[in-house]
């Protein structure tokens, strides 16, 4: 009972209000957190990377050089081309890539492509190329960077077994993979907030029931469970349905960790003196939840949510890679990596592993960002 003032109250940051530095005194919690977050350089950089990825996801039609599903039987397994800015041997600005000619190995009869400097494929910015329906709303044909002639081969990151452009596919895959993380986490968040909140706020029997459910779900080996559930999705369902169902499946299990966090925080907060004070002040229960309890752990939940997104992305990638997640023609990073399942394919076309790099970058960025947010969430430490 007698916690006397020896060390506990010696908060080094509590500056006496006689100090002249007024910005600190009147800074709200969010401002303090923002200041603390910006000190975390890696997290800020990761935040920029994530914004960039979502930018790609939003404008993938424009950013992709061509239609991700455009087959070109003549250009199977084309290796990545390098961009040349000037006309060969001169300083005339004329951005282009080189075309290809075939070469057949006389012994194995395998066809290989050889870059042919004689064939010039002119490229340009904001070129009219393949038509697409922007956000499914209106038809357009402008591409940020594309071959001037849309029939020319232009494969910055190579092509796959059907001659589709790897880069365009990755860019479109970014939309699906990044959004699945976001949508999935949103569903988890709603479930986690509601169930965790109820569990922590009311306690008692409801709490034990929800806790048992959480324990149960957590003790299941997730991949076999997902596999079982995903495999039950009828093959003939439209891709959008499958996308939604897969997202729902991922969040069905993903919410448990969020619910635990929410429950812990709510439990601790509802007994906090300042919450009791609010109740005694006559503040309505609904306002106590929305004004006192929710804001007190919102920052923490944002951090935890950020850390949950990469897990969703990894899970989707894994399922799609196994062929029981998203199905073509939908492209996600996982669907793309499926093309690289066979070691022989990887050996001939290692550029098919490029989507993997995007997965790694996205997951890393979310983890760094989440860590930074978590540190910033408690501005007093």
């Amino acid at each position: 009972m007698s916690t006397l003032a020896s060390s506990a109250t010696a908060a080094p940051i509590a500056v006496s209000p006689t100090s002249s530095d007024d910005s600190f005194e009147v800074a709200s919690q969010w401002q303090l957190m923002w200041w603390k977050f910006t000190r975390h350089k890696i997290a800020v950089a990761a935040g920029v990377v994530i914004l960039l990825l979502y930018f790609i996801a939003i404008f993938s039609e424009i950013l992709a050089p061509t239609d991700p599903n455009k087959n070109a039987a003549a250009f199977k397994y084309i290796p990545p081309q390098g961009i040349h800015l000037f006309e060969d041997g001169t300083w005339n600005f004329s951005p282009h890539v080189h075309g290809f000619s075939f070469k057949t190995d006389p012994r194995s009869f395998r066809r290989t492509y050889v870059e042919d400097p004689a064939k010039i494929v002119p490229i340009g910015l904001f070129v009219a190329g393949e038509k697409y329906k922007m956000w499914g709303l209106f038809t357009w044909d402008v591409h940020l960077l594309a071959a001037v002639n849309k029939r020319d081969p232009f494969f910055l990151l190579g092509s796959d077994r059907l001659g589709r452009d790897n880069l365009s596919r990755i860019i479109h895959g970014t939309r699906v993979s990044m959004s699945i993380g976001l949508v999935g986490v949103s569903i988890s968040l709603v479930l986690g907030l509601i169930l965790g909140g109820i569990s922590g706020y009311y306690g008692g029997r409801i709490d034990s029931a929800i806790q048992r459910l959480v324990e149960f779900l957590r003790s299941m080996p997730t991949i076999p469970l997902w596999m079982g559930l995903a495999a039950a999705i009828p093959l003939e369902w439209p891709p959008l349905y499958v996308y939604l169902i897969i997202t729902a499946l991922l969040s069905l299990i993903g919410w448990t960790s969020l619910a635990r966090e929410v429950r812990g925080k709510v439990m601790a907060l509802k007994g906090e003196d300042f919450v009791i004070a609010a109740r005694l002040d006559g503040v309505k229960e609904r306002k106590i939840i929305t004004r006192q309890i929710l804001p007190a752990f919102a920052s923490h939940i944002i951090a935890v949510t950020t850390l949950a997104i990469p897990e969703m992305i990894l899970a989707e990638t894994a399922l799609s890679f196994l062929g029981i997640g998203l199905q073509p023609p939908v492209v996600s990073w996982g669907v793309l990596l499926r093309e690289a399942q066979n070691i022989n394919t990887v050996a001939t076309a290692p550029w098919l592993l490029w989507p993997g790099l995007f997965v790694v970058i996205a997951v890393l960025a979310f983890n760094f960002l989440g860590d930074g947010l978590r540190d910033a969430a408690d501005p007093y430490s």
Binding site: S6, A14, S16
Partner: protein, 345 residues
């Protein structure tokens, strides 16, 4: 002439932080004598606990001793400067536990929750003395009995969480005494205890001091504890000793304005109930925002701008005790004469 055991001279402990260096201890002087109890009193932020950790080089990172001497006088007359020793050197480890033992505020967290209390105490004996395990155990059980743990043999094998706070602090005392140290540093040993337990633990400490012939350095914020057990008192404010002297003198005639104000601000049982307490104005300044000159000047009722804003003097002879205040500097004392005369009337 009493026998000096430990002398701290001009000790500084610094904590580098993002917002600047916090001088937790800033030019501290302290003298401890054999077989005496020295109480170090101060409020939060006074650096009293930091001083205790610094003596045994147990400062938490990034804290470090930035200057000064900590002279420990061995029985054979050899003097070691503990501030110069490496934190994990053989010699420092001999001192820890062997010559200077320490107990802490929170006896629950100060012990490992997964080791038995017997193990944690007898370990200390085994570390410092060449005895068999059985012997160490027997000694531990004897010590448990001495510090008033009922049924010590059975308690040897239990875990700290099975004991009450008062019992845990007894275990800590037994541990501290186990290698017959010359000095026991007790950092707020009774703060976490109820008043009846506090009385028991303080009583026990006084008993064992006589019995084992040790010195005690007791760190506290509570003048009641000081009145109970101290021989000497050292009052700290913002990392400095502002007054040091014999306990009766300090209570009868505090010399430093801070000591005086602090003693007056405590509700006393022999005072008239409900009387207005003499209060110290203002708050303890934050360590980032300490006043230049005398650290107490921002709250001092006797402040006279001219000398007080200058760099603080050393501990000066103030008659019955020594105080760090310009009032006792012969060069400035005259400035306070009219005010003192007023008080005398």
């Amino acid at each position: 002439m009493p026998d000096v055991l430990l002398e701290v001279r001009n000790l500084s402990v610094h904590f580098p932080t993002r917002s600047g260096v916090v001088k937790a201890v800033d030019g501290l002087d302290l003298t401890l004598y054999r077989n005496k109890t020295m109480c170090v009193v101060g409020e939060s932020g006074s650096g009293k606990s930091m001083t205790a950790s610094a003596i045994l080089q147990l400062l938490k990172k990034p804290g470090r001793i930035a200057g000064g001497e900590i002279l420990f006088h061995h029985k054979n007359g050899r003097v070691v400067d503990l501030a110069k020793l490496k934190a994990n050197s053989e010699e420092m480890r001999q001192i820890r536990g062997g010559h200077i033992a320490m107990i802490f505020q929170e006896p629950m967290t100060s012990m490992s929750p997964v080791h038995t209390i017997g193990d944690q105490v007898s370990e200390m004996i085994l570390l410092h003395e060449k005895v068999s395990k059985a012997e160490a155990k027997a000694r531990t059980i004897r010590l448990f009995g001495r510090v008033g743990i009922p049924d010590p043999e059975a308690r040897y094998d239990i875990y700290p969480f099975m004991l009450s706070g008062g019992m845990r602090q007894r275990v800590m005392i037994a541990m501290a005494l186990s290698c017959n140290p010359e000095l026991l540093i007790a950092d707020e040993p009774t703060t976490a205890l109820d008043v009846t337990m506090q009385a028991n633990v303080l009583g026990l400490m006084q008993e064992v001091q006589k019995e084992f012939g040790i010195s005690i350095m007791l760190i506290t914020h509570d003048f009641g504890v000081v009145a109970e057990v101290a021989d000497d008192v050292s009052v700290m404010y913002l990392g400095r000793t502002v007054e040091q002297g014999e306990v009766h003198d300090i209570f009868r005639a505090p010399k430093h304005p801070y000591t005086r104000a602090l003693l007056n601000s405590i509700p006393k049982l022999d005072a008239i109930p409900g009387h207005r307490l003499t209060q110290i104005e203002g708050m303890v300044p934050s360590p980032f925002n300490r006043p230049s000159g005398c650290p107490f000047q921002s709250r001092c009722p006797d402040r006279i701008a001219d000398p007080c804003a200058r760099e603080c003097p050393e501990l000066l002879d103030a008659g019955t005790s020594r105080a760090r205040c310009y009032q006792y500097d012969p060069a400035y004392a005259a400035l306070w004469q009219p005010a003192l005369a007023e008080v005398a009337k």
